[in-house]
């Protein structure tokens, strides 16, 4: 499916319950048009990974996800030979008195395809979406390797040769900035920093994602979180936390925010004890008073 304008794409994203800024929509639109990877940075829980999932829906294709971690190597990211099968094959041939040819042993049937290879070796008629999640968790070695794959969309396996993608995947790379990702990698990509949403946008997200939440509750939750982001916290709650909290309060049959219930459920939105201590009690009351005046 192709989109001819940014408006059209933004509408489509909205239809998949993803509320995107104009800027983000532009970046996605261009990434699709130019066939460039999209590099998304931002604090945890602002919907970076979600972008890849939504685009997968829009393109009606498969999502291939590569979760990065330290020490991620070629065998886990690209391919691995199926050693047990190879061994068994040799044994089998030996038993029959035959000798195994090398080319036979390193054929496609003995190849275990890991995410990057799956993304490159696409036999379907439409490109897939490749999500390289939390690239900042990987190490320099993997980053260098990824750079190579993303620039040419080809992978070399010594025993087989070079495989080039006929239909390069649409690549989304995300980073939480727990480490500076090398500029060379970012340079290959379209870069977009996803910020915390404004009140209106966040409310729209809450309504879209938790449609059965009472309207008043949704407004109050959004207002509360927006205020909380201004507070002096070590870890500011993201949109993911807003949604979790909304779901939690709906499950508790709440119609509106009350100081006691907020205190009891703070653990859903704040993940550091210092932060919980700081906010609990007085601070919660103060915020509630402020948002009541507003609404």
């Amino acid at each position: 499916m192709t989109y001819n304008s940014i408006d059209e794409l933004q509408q489509a994203l909205r239809s998949q319950l993803y509320v995107a800024d104009r800027g983000l929509a532009t970046a996605i639109f261009l990434a699709l048009k130019l066939g460039r990877p999209l590099f998304l940075e931002g604090e945890a829980g602002v919907g970076k990974t979600e972008v890849a999932k939504v685009i997968t829906q829009l393109l009606d294709t498969d999502l291939i996800r590569l979760q990065c971690y330290e020490g991620l190597d070629v065998h886990h990211a690209v391919y691995e030979w199926n050693y047990t099968r190879q061994m068994l094959h040799i044994r089998l041939l030996e038993a029959r008195g035959e000798h195994a040819a090398e080319a036979e042993l390193f054929g496609p049937e003995f190849l275990l395809r890991r995410p990057l290879l799956q993304a490159i070796e696409n036999t379907r008629d439409r490109p897939r979406v490749l999500l390289v999640d939390e690239v900042d968790r990987s190490d320099d070695e993997f980053e260098a390797f990824l750079l190579e794959v993303l620039s040419d969309f080809q992978i070399t396996i010594p025993e087989i040769g070079t495989l080039k993608a006929e239909r390069p995947p649409f690549v989304v790379v995300t980073s939480n900035r727990t480490r500076e990702v090398h500029d060379a990698l970012k340079r290959r990509c379209l870069y977009y920093w996803i910020d915390y949403p404004t009140f209106e946008k966040e409310l729209e997200i809450v309504r879209a994602k938790v449609p059965h939440a009472p309207a008043q509750l949704a407004r109050q939750i959004t207002g509360f979180i927006q205020e909380l982001r201004q507070a002096d916290l070590y870890k500011i709650p993201g949109v993911a936390e807003t949604l979790d909290w909304t779901a939690a309060l709906v499950a508790l049959d709440q119609q509106a925010l009350e100081p006691s219930i907020v205190d009891e459920t703070l653990g859903v939105i704040l993940k550091y004890q210092d932060d919980v201590q700081k906010v609990k009690g007085e601070h919660v009351k103060a915020i509630l008073d402020r948002i009541r005046v507003g609404s």
Binding site: S5, I6, R22, G23, T26, A27, F29, L30, K33, L34, R36, F39, E41, Y69, E70, G71, D73, H75, E80, W81, Y83, Q86, M87, I90, R91, E94, H99, A100, E102, D139, E141, R177, T178, R179, E180, D183, K186, R187, C189, L190, Y191, Y192, W193, Y234, D274
Partner: protein
């Protein structure tokens, strides 16, 4: 689209000027990116300013820090009528840089014989110390090694700087999650299979893999407040020699009332040039000390980004703190939790009879893994040795005090 066809020459011209402007401001813009941009703009309605803005931004900016500067440049450039623009007009931006800070003079040179200006104008400054060193006898050098940095004369200072540059720095290693071929415990199946082909499916020789070791990341937080002034100049040289001497990135921050990251400024082959850049970047030389606040800025803004992978933190300060004690307590605790090892280097610890009695020091000490002096060359040598020994195993976290040699 039509409008771009007619005046595309003019538009392209402006676009290239804009690219040049951004490059002048320190953004990473190159001709390749500009070509991508021209290509990308074919898909976008240029008349829609917001779309145009996001298109340009997503292609030309790839660091979050650069966005505000880009915004300013964008507004300025694309609002004015374009006809009159020449590259000369871009000098409006002359004073602006990617990192914009007030120009402040470097910390005062104390007891230094030759002012730095002479050094720059004359022969390369590197020539001077070796000559001096020849004149140093062994015993001279021994005295120099133990002399407090604060009591050095100009000649000695130059000699010390030279000796400092010769110190060998290496950091304790950390076992990474990555493996490489070697006589380790893990089996390398790929190589095992290759080796045992010839035996017809019988595994006779095993190939192994072992973990790869890498030096731990190093983060330095150095106090350049008024009370540290006597040490500041040499401290900067120390920071530079450390950043240069280690073949890994060292994240360096200075603080007195505010925290300034100087990692980028410290890079470069020329020490004097690097230090000049540093002195321009820091706006509060010899100010008051608010260690707690500086640590908070660090913990909140940088901790998550630079303290990964078992980092070692060197905190260099005399512990004279005029900030909030409870804040210091809280932030020291947080800092220690987030790093592998927290080393406090105190220049006063070298003076005989020093007791860490100041309020700040008392508050911070329980959270310090190693408390070491940093007042003379010999203490730096001890530090170098200490850093190498930071191995896999860390002692239980409690206060330990190393007594100065």
């Amino acid at each position: 689209m039509n409008s771009t066809e007619t005046s595309s020459g003019q538009f392209l011209h402006n676009l290239i000027l804009f690219g040049r402007l951004l490059r002048g401001l320190g953004l990473d813009v190159n001709p390749g990116r500009m070509m991508d941009l021209v290509h990308a703009l074919r898909f976008v309605e240029i008349g829609n300013k917001s779309d145009f803005y996001h298109t340009v931004r997503s292609l030309l900016v790839h660091r979050h820090e650069d966005v505000p500067l880009f915004d300013q440049a964008f507004d300025m450039f694309w609002q004015k009528p374009m006809e009159g623009w020449t590259t000369l007009d871009l000098s409006v931006f002359g004073g602006k840089r990617r990192v914009r800070r007030a120009r402040i003079t470097p910390p005062p040179v104390r007891e230094e014989a030759a002012p730095p200006e002479d050094n720059q104008a004359g022969s390369p400054p590197a020539d001077q110390p070796p000559v001096l060193q020849v004149t140093l006898t062994y015993s001279d050098r021994e005295i120099l090694r133990h002399k407090d940095f604060a009591d050095l004369t100009g000649d000695e200072l130059a000699a010390i700087k030279h000796l400092m540059a010769n110190l060998v720095w290496r950091l304790g290693e950390r076992r990474t999650r990555r493996r490489k071929p070697g006589p380790g415990e893990g089996v390398d199946l790929r190589r095992t299979l290759r080796r045992n082909f010839k035996y017809g499916g019988e595994v006779l020789e095993w190939a192994h893999r072992e973990p790869k070791f890498k030096p731990r990341p190093l983060v330095i937080l150095a106090d350049v407040s008024g009370s540290m002034e006597r040490y500041t100049r040499l401290l900067l040289h120390f920071l530079y020699s450390l950043a240069e001497g280690l073949d890994q990135v060292v994240e360096t921050f200075l603080f007195s009332t505010r925290l300034t990251r100087i990692t980028r400024q410290l890079r470069g082959r020329d020490a004097d040039q690097a230090l000049r850049k540093v002195s321009r970047a820091v706006s509060d030389w010899s100010g008051g000390t608010r260690i707690g606040e500086a640590l908070k800025t660090f913990n909140f803004g940088w901790g998550r980004r630079v303290l990964g992978r078992g980092a070692v933190v060197l905190l260099i300060s005399d512990g004279w703190d005029c900030g909030d004690v409870s804040l210091l307590h809280e932030e020291m605790a947080r800092l220690q939790r987030n790093c592998y090892r927290l080393v406090w280097l105190n220049p006063l610890l070298g003076s005989p009879g020093y007791e860490p009695l100041t309020r700040g020091m008392q508050t911070a000490l329980p959270f310090v893994d190693d408390f070491l002096p940093i007042h003379s060359l010999s203490s730096l040598e001890d530090l170098a040795e200490h850093l190498v020994r930071l191995d896999e195993r860390r002692l239980a976290r409690r206060q330990r005090r190393a007594i100065a040699a």
